[in-house]
């Protein structure tokens, strides 16, 4: 009764809770409840599993859960919001690693009686899980600055990857035809998939990390789903597919935000950095960017009715979120309408900028995404670009020779005046010079973003 009815019903219930939880994430108000509902779903699934009569001893299980819960809760509590992408990358890796281990464990349990379909599912689970594990660790290390963030490439990289992949296919084929041991192929696949995860992420530059994290997120779900095929467990299949679908949607949004295809991100990279650095060192004397001190801008602010703030990752690096929030409050007290324009790739992962602004107590209904805010720049008196560069480069609209051509950008140049807060004239993350800085309605405010905004705030308070 318990084994054949209650456990499956509890699993079904947990799947329903997961779907309801994700549904509640459709609005910031109901989202905390959604997260809680999903957590309950997980609790039910774990409880149902503990009732399984295959389980003979509980010591290992509970000690494992306690160790994992301690590490997980400390990490979740300590992490800074700027470091969330690293943490999510690492968690993705653990998910993939868990799938690889479970599939391998199940393989050793049923090695002598294994069916071909299950064997293939084990291989797939190991393959996706292994890539997710090492790929995520590399993504984590790049984001954390442990290894160089820039793309590391060598000749024949794609060929090597293809050959390694082929080796697994050949191994699987030979094993199915009883030419080699199943277990030899399993060990081979574990090693190759771990190497492929490393080789796959190491050539991808820091700017493309939002795509990589989203993709690895999807992989961690797909690894769980394939493990579900191995264990003949529908709960894993359902939950894993939900996560897989979510990751694919986010990957797609990130790629669109950068106007690139997933294949381009994974296998070719930007590949134009050398050329760009040369062209930006040419000095054209006719092009001089206007530069003001924050104090000189007060007059312009005094006549403004509508201001749009465009935050980029540079703002987060300067830890300027809090003063930006103060700036908003001062402006609003003067009757100015303030909105924020968030580019899809403004942060280091999908939605990252929104979390950083929420942390600084900025209301979520003032954050607008690119499609909603772009028509409004024409009516804006001022656009303030803080630590963003490529996402406001007008070359993306018209300059076919620019590597950014075709990328959706925020149309800040259409507003009356554009203030650009920047450390120096250095080109941005992708190393591309920005036409915007030389426009007649653009004014540069050089210096540390936090300091510049603070000076602005104190000037405006006095005015």
């Amino acid at each position: 009764m318990i084994q054949s009815l209650i456990i499956p019903v509890l699993y079904l219930l947990s799947a329903v809770f997961f779907i309801l939880g994700l549904k509640l994430l459709s609005h910031p108000k109901s989202a905390p409840r959604g997260n809680f509902v999903a957590a309950i779903g997980m609790f039910i699934a774990i409880l149902a599993t503990l009732l399984n009569n295959k389980i003979l001893s509980y010591e290992l299980i509970f000690s494992g859960i306690i160790i994992g819960a301690l590490i997980g809760s400390i990490a979740a509590r300590r992490v800074k919001m700027t470091s969330i992408p690293q943490l999510v990358a690492l968690f993705n890796g653990f998910g993939g690693g868990a799938s690889l281990l479970v599939a391998s464990a199940e393989f050793y349990r049923i090695e002598n009686t294994i069916e071909i379909f299950i064997f293939c599912a084990v291989l797939l689970s190991i393959f996706i899980g292994g890539i997710t594990l090492t790929g995520s660790i590399i993504a984590f290390a790049k984001l954390q600055g442990i290894i160089r963030g820039s793309a590391i490439r060598f000749k024949g990289q794609n060929l090597l990857n293809a050959l390694l992949f082929l080796l697994i296919i050949v191994g699987a084929f030979l094993a199915i035809n009883e030419r080699v041991d199943f277990s030899t192929v399993i060990i081979l696949s574990i090693s190759i998939s771990l190497i492929l995860g490393y080789l796959g992420v190491i050539p991808i530059g820091g700017a493309d990390m939002p795509v990589v994290i989203s993709l690895l997120n999807s992989f961690s779900g797909l690894a769980a789903a394939t493990t579900g095929f191995v264990l003949v467990n529908n709960s894993l299949i359902i939950s894993g597919s939900l996560v897989g679908a979510s990751g694919i949607i986010l990957t797609n949004i990130m790629c669109k935000g950068m106007n690139r295809t997933i294949w381009n991100v994974l296998f070719t990279g930007l590949g134009f950095n050398d050329k760009i650095n040369q062209s930006s060192s040419e000095n054209d004397p006719s092009r001089i960017a206007k530069s003001y001190e924050p104090e000189d801008t007060v007059v312009i602010f005094e006549n403004a009715k509508k201001i749009i703030i465009v935050p980029g990752y540079g703002m987060a690096v300067a830890q300027a979120q809090q003063v930006v929030s103060e700036l908003e409050k001062v402006l609003e007290s003067k009757g100015v309408n303030v909105k924020y324009a968030i580019h899809p790739v403004a942060g280091r992962m999908p939605g990252h900028m929104n979390v950083l602004l929420a942390e600084a107590n900025i209301s979520y209904d003032k954050l607008y995404d690119i499609d909603d805010i772009n028509p409004e720049f024409e009516q804006a008196d001022i656009a303030i670009v803080i630590g963003a560069n490529d996402v406001v480069n007008p070359a993306a609209r018209h300059d076919q020779s620019s590597p950014l051509f075709g990328m959706p950008i925020l149309d800040v140049d259409k507003s009356q005046t554009v203030f650009i807060l920047k450390r120096s004239m250095n080109p941005g993350f992708a190393g591309i010079e920005n036409q915007l800085f030389f426009n007649d309605n653009s004014i540069m405010l050089f210096g540390d973003a936090k300091e510049t905004v603070s000076r602005l705030v104190s000037e405006l308070k006095q005015a």
Partner: protein, 101 residues
């Protein structure tokens, strides 16, 4: 057996459709919590890990003597998956509570 596999494939495909429907409705502002939350859900592998580490012992001869491989792999998998589950839900909760109007 083959009808078993087919049934699982049905579930897999239908769940992906449900996932697409539900997740396209999540607004961009919540994409980071969506990712960390769905990450916690992918920690569902924990149930496979629990069964592996708690079930019948399988000893494998190694250089160090007989080792119960299934339990050991399952045990490490439990730690990994629990970090994923507990850390994922907690950090998502921490983020979501910051979103205020």
């Amino acid at each position: 057996m083959s009808s078993d596999i087919l049934f699982q494939l049905y579930i897999f495909i239908l769940a992906i459709f449900v996932g697409f429907e539900v997740i396209t409705k999540v607004p961009p502002t919540l994409h980071t919590p969506l990712m960390s939350g769905s990450n916690a859900i992918s920690g569902i592998t924990i149930i496979g890990a629990i069964i592996a580490s708690g079930s019948r012992k399988i000893f494998i001869e190694t250089f160090f003597g007989d080792v119960d491989l299934t339990s050991i792999l399952g045990f490490i998998a439990i730690i990994f998956a629990t970090i994923n589950v507990v850390g994922g839900f907690l950090v998502t909760n921490r983020m979501l509570r910051m979103f205020k109007k």
